[in-house]
């Protein structure tokens, strides 16, 4: 194993079933159902997935959902806006925790 990430490994995702078929099967069934057209369109779900991929910083997911979003008819502007949503929530969640820091600061200060 020369690298931790290999783009070709993405194609082997299905192989996780080799080590635990039953749970793997259940996961892929669930995964497939989640992304079906529902109350949200398949395109909206793809953009959410793209944003979450960035939030969890998964190289495989970014690769897969960039392509998926393009194949769902999204353009670069929409895709970047989705990533900004993830970034805003991530930075917002960091900053909103500073209220806790401020509370503690005030508690410890004279």
């Amino acid at each position: 194993m020369k690298t931790y990430y290999d783009p070709d490994d993405l194609k082997k995702f299905g192989k996780i079933k080799d080590f635990q078929p039953e749970l793997g099967e259940k996961f892929f069934d669930y995964y497939g159902s989640v992304f079906e057209e529902g109350a949200l369109t398949a395109r909206e779900k793809s953009l959410i997935a793209l944003a979450v991929s960035h939030a969890v910083q998964c190289a495989y997911c970014i690769d897969a959902y960039t392509e998926d979003a393009m194949e769902k008819g999204c353009d670069e502007e929409q895709m970047m806006e989705a990533v900004h949503v993830a970034a805003a929530i991530k930075s917002g969640s960091t900053l909103v925790h500073s209220v806790q820091m401020m509370n503690k600061y005030k508690q410890l200060s004279m």
Partner: protein, 348 residues
């Protein structure tokens, strides 16, 4: 992202302007042969069902040099159909019961005999489709009245528009193409095209600006309708989402951008036997500018002539064409991926 060269592969003397080189490259890819895929569902040999559509390529000359063009068309291409060959087309059409004549190019309107040809076809009462690249309408004063001419002959206009923004459109079709296309669409709308109740059909053709597959046709159509209406007050009838086939300039793009292997794998993985049973070549024949007959416009560009008795209009033999076996190759995977692809959009 690609850079538009403004020259056809042929003018650049690019190795991929040669058919043999393209076929060699398609063969090299380490993929299941298309005919084996067809065999899995008893579709090989692939047989024609009828000849309902005559798709006629009246020449490779075009005012644009799009990045993905499977014709390798452009202003530097001089191959165009003569009136004599058009007459042979008309004679051949008379020997069939075809319902539709689909005119393509290049920019078909640049052929000096285009209007004459349309008038003859119109007199035969056939449904006529013109694959209009839109910008030709505003390219020169002499083309400004095309919307009126189309209307007079109740032509169905099918026009490429890869996206409702200029960035994506211009990246594929050339700088300024989006703005000119919008202008032309407005001119078509003005004479009634795309408007309810007029019977004048204006369809748009989407193809991906890159190495990915097209989105779902209906959802994309809804998006296009909404965006074109609100942003530009433009209306149209249907949107066809078509897949780019790995030949000519699109093949060159795939190779140069190192997407060739990935794209071919994607097409093979997305193979859909339902789409395969509905491929357009089963009810179409394609005529080249010089009168040769092919299964489709793609086979025409690869110089894969029909496997029928008469391979040229002068020996036109409808019986043999209706009963022919279609010549397939690895590029055919482009017609069978996902919901399938044809000149009329998805097929499955």
């Amino acid at each position: 992202m690609g850079v538009l060269t403004h020259k056809s592969l042929s003018a650049q003397k690019h190795e991929l302007s040669e058919v043999d080189r393209q076929l060699e490259l398609l063969k090299q890819a380490d993929l299941t042969p298309f005919q084996d895929k067809l065999s899995e569902t008893d579709l090989f040999p692939l047989k024609a069902l009828n000849v309902d559509v005559f798709q006629i390529n009246v020449g490779k000359m075009c005012n644009q040099v799009c990045n993905h063009c499977h014709v390798d068309a452009g202003p530097d291409r001089k191959e165009i159909m003569t009136r004599e060959t058009m007459q042979q087309c008309l004679d051949a059409i008379d020997k069939t019961t075809c319902s539709t004549v689909d005119l393509t190019g290049g920019a078909p309107e640049m052929n000096p005999d285009f209007r004459w040809f349309v008038e003859q076809l119109s007199a035969k009462g056939k449904k006529i489709i013109v694959r209009c690249n839109l910008t030709i309408i505003v390219a020169n004063k002499k083309y400004n009245d095309l919307p009126e001419f189309f209307k007079k002959h109740k032509i169905e206009v099918a026009s490429s528009l890869p996206y409702f923004t200029s960035a994506k459109t211009d990246a594929q079709r050339g700088d300024g193409v989006f703005d000119k296309s919008i202008k032309a669409l407005k001119m078509l709308n003005e004479v009634g095209y795309g408007k309810e109740g007029t019977g004048l059909v204006l369809d748009l053709v989407y193809n991906p600006s890159g190495a990915f597959l097209p989105p779902d046709q209906l959802s994309l159509q809804a998006d296009f309708k909404k965006k074109l209406k609100t942003r530009f007050d433009i209306v149209f009838n249907q949107l066809y989402a078509i897949t780019n086939l790995p030949i000519s300039r699109y093949l060159e793009y795939l190779v140069a951008s190192e997407n060739y292997e990935g794209y071919m794998n994607k097409l093979v993985e997305a193979y859909n036997p339902v789409a395969a049973s509905n491929v357009m070549c089963r009810n179409t024949i394609s005529i080249g500018w010089d009168g040769y007959i092919f299964d489709c416009d793609f086979n025409q560009m690869l110089d894969l002539k029909v496997a029928a008795k008469g391979q040229h209009l002068k020996d036109f033999d409808i019986e043999s064409l209706v009963n022919r076996t279609i010549i397939v190759n690895q590029h055919c995977y482009g017609c069978t991926a996902g919901s399938g692809s044809s000149c009329g959009g998805t097929v499955a």
